[in-house]
């Protein structure tokens, strides 16, 4: 992958000046590349990776396996797009294997997520079955390990 993208995936808030120093180029060049990535849709957004467990009112994440009947035109795309438009749906993936779509739903309570499944998702035309799992704990997300405070065990000065 492009080196600049790699760096932004690690820390999207890094200044163009620092990025330029690392890549051996100018800050202007970095800014221009970023603008191009944004315009072409390679970069879709910038988000914080939040450790929900540290918050007083954390969200409940529900993972749902969905089987659907593909349509003759558009295959899975239309139904996946319909599902994606619900605000409570965080992520939607098309999968190979025993089911078709994998959904990540965020809700304030388990009940709220359950309502989404029973009232909106399962009655949608084309959806043939669902299997719902509640996420218990996040250890690592988007490449970031959630716990902090690993000490550097190395000697502080060595030859």
């Amino acid at each position: 992958m492009n080196e600049l993208l790699n760096l932004l995936k690690q820390n999207a808030l890094e200044s163009p000046e620092n990025l330029a120093k690392m890549l051996g180029t100018s800050a202007e060049d970095v800014k221009q590349q970023i603008t191009e990535f944004e315009k072409s849709g390679v970069i879709r957004a910038y988000q914080a990776v939040v450790n929900e467990e540290k918050l007083d009112s954390s969200l409940v994440t529900t993972v749902i396996e969905v089987k659907v009947t593909p349509e003759s035109e558009g295959g899975f795309d239309r139904i996946a797009d319909r599902i994606s438009r619900f605000p409570e749906v965080d992520s939607v993936f098309l999968m190979s294997g025993g089911f078709d779509l994998l959904l990540f739903i965020k809700g304030r309570t388990m009940h709220e997520s359950f309502s989404f499944v029973s009232d909106k998702l399962s009655i949608m035309p084309g959806v043939t079955s669902t299997a719902t799992h509640f996420m218990m704990k996040t250890y690592k997300q988007n490449g970031i390990v959630m716990h902090t405070g690993d000490d550097d065990e190395r000697l502080k000065v060595s030859p």
Binding site: E3, L7, N18, K21, M22, L23, G24, D152, R154, L155, K156, V157, S158, P159
Partner: protein, 391 residues
């Protein structure tokens, strides 16, 4: 008898006369402080890749807890032979030309002890890794340090060699990519040195532990020069490129006579390298390219950053081409390297190693390791910039 003065007099003179490493003194000062950002660490900040740790763990589960052949596991020696051949096009027979050692440190000690007789001169270049000089002295040899210069990019030149050779010179010890300067040699430099070694019938010890870590051009090994395989002991190991320092795994490649000589010392002093570390190293060789490419890409970005930051501060350092050190020239501040390092530590809590720890021509320089997280490097550069404003 039991007072410390009389005990001191019992210690062998060679050992008594050698001062302990300047790094160690500095380490003790740094260790007594809290919240230090250390650019003084000469080992990777990565942990050993997971698949290597898994392999060692599996080997332990399988009960691999015995000695191995003195030379090391044959499967590992085969792997090493293939790895070296792929990099250098030079073939070493796993059966009698590859020896597995406890780090390159042991390999160096073996090589020097196998070759040096009392009074033999060993040429090496400074600034250098801290062990070279003492190891030569422990073998009753005479260390002859060639002072490399910043103007030459800390490269060893043919002229340097001409000026320091004598009829007692037996061995030339090379270390490129270099710790502490980050310097590398071009193919032409290496060929010049090789021609010199052949002309003067020298044995060359080449410590190429950092060979995977070059950022702008590929490393060229002296063993690849025709006529050099026959007179060279090639020293390498797993510590730096695979982030395996604590496993203590190195190896030597050399003609059978030299390997046999080193093996004798190894056999009677060390017996063999630890079997779990050997198993881990065997696994390391399987995915060498992917593991190394990942770490190297990270170091390169940090190298670029730290070099650009020093330039911005008006502290000229040669652009480090290899290893993971920047050797920054702080001579214009009118302090010794040690004074600068101590004051920087005192005022900004940033630890760097004074260049003089690596030989007297390191005066006026500090070694800054970029085997440190990027966040720490950024903060250290902010602090150093603030520090030099006050000078």
């Amino acid at each position: 008898m039991n007072d410390s003065k009389s005990l001191h007099s019992k210690i062998a003179k060679t050992v008594r006369d050698i001062p302990r490493s300047g790094i160690r003194d500095f380490f003790e000062i740094v260790s007594s402080r809290e919240g230090v950002i250390s650019l003084g660490i000469g080992e990777p900040d990565f942990v050993t890749p997971w698949h290597i740790r898994e392999a060692a763990s599996l080997a332990l589960d399988r009960g691999m807890t015995s000695y191995t052949s003195n030379m090391g596991l044959l499967s590992l020696r085969r792997g090493i032979s293939q790895y070296v051949a792929k990099k250098t096009n030079i073939q070493y027979r796993p059966e009698d030309e590859v020896l597995v050692t406890v780090g390159v440190s042991e390999g160096l000690d073996l090589a020097i002890r196998a070759l040096v007789e009392p009074g033999d001169e060993v040429l090496y270049h400074e600034p250098s890794y801290v062990s070279y000089n003492p190891l030569i002295q422990f073998a009753y040899g005479v260390p002859v340090a060639i002072q490399t210069k910043k103007e030459n990019g800390f490269r060893l030149t043919r002229q340097d060699l001409e000026e320091n050779i004598s009829d007692k010179t037996k061995v030339l010890l090379l270390n490129y990519p270099n710790n502490p300067t980050g310097a590398i040699l071009s193919k032409e430099d290496v060929e010049d040195i090789a021609a010199f070694a052949i002309e003067h019938d020298l044995i060359v010890l080449t410590d190429e532990i950092y060979d995977e870590l070059t950022y702008d051009q590929e490393h060229f090994s002296i063993i690849s020069v025709p006529g050099m395989r026959e007179r060279t002991i090639y020293l390498h190991g797993f510590s730096k490129a695979w982030a395996m320092t604590g496993w203590r795994m190195g190896f030597t490649c050399a003609p059978p006579e030299l390997t046999e000589a080193m093996m004798k010392i190894h056999q009677y002093t060390m017996l063999c390298a630890p079997i779990l570390s050997q198993e881990a190293s065997l696994e390391a060789l399987k995915q060498a390219d992917t593991d190394i490419a990942y770490m190297k890409a990270e170091y390169k970005k940090r190298r670029n950053y730290i070099h650009a930051s020093f330039e911005e501060m008006g502290i000229p350092s040669i652009r480090p081409e290899g290893a993971f050190y920047a050797f920054a020239d702080i001579s214009k501040f009118g302090m010794t390297a040690k004074e600068f390092a101590l004051k920087l530590l005192d005022e900004e809590n940033v630890a760097c190693v004074p260049g003089t720890a690596f030989g007297k021509c390191g005066e006026g320089f500090i070694r800054c390791s970029y085997a440190t997280s990027f966040d720490d490097i950024k903060e250290a550069m902010v602090r150093i910039a603030r520090f030099i404003e006050t000078l």
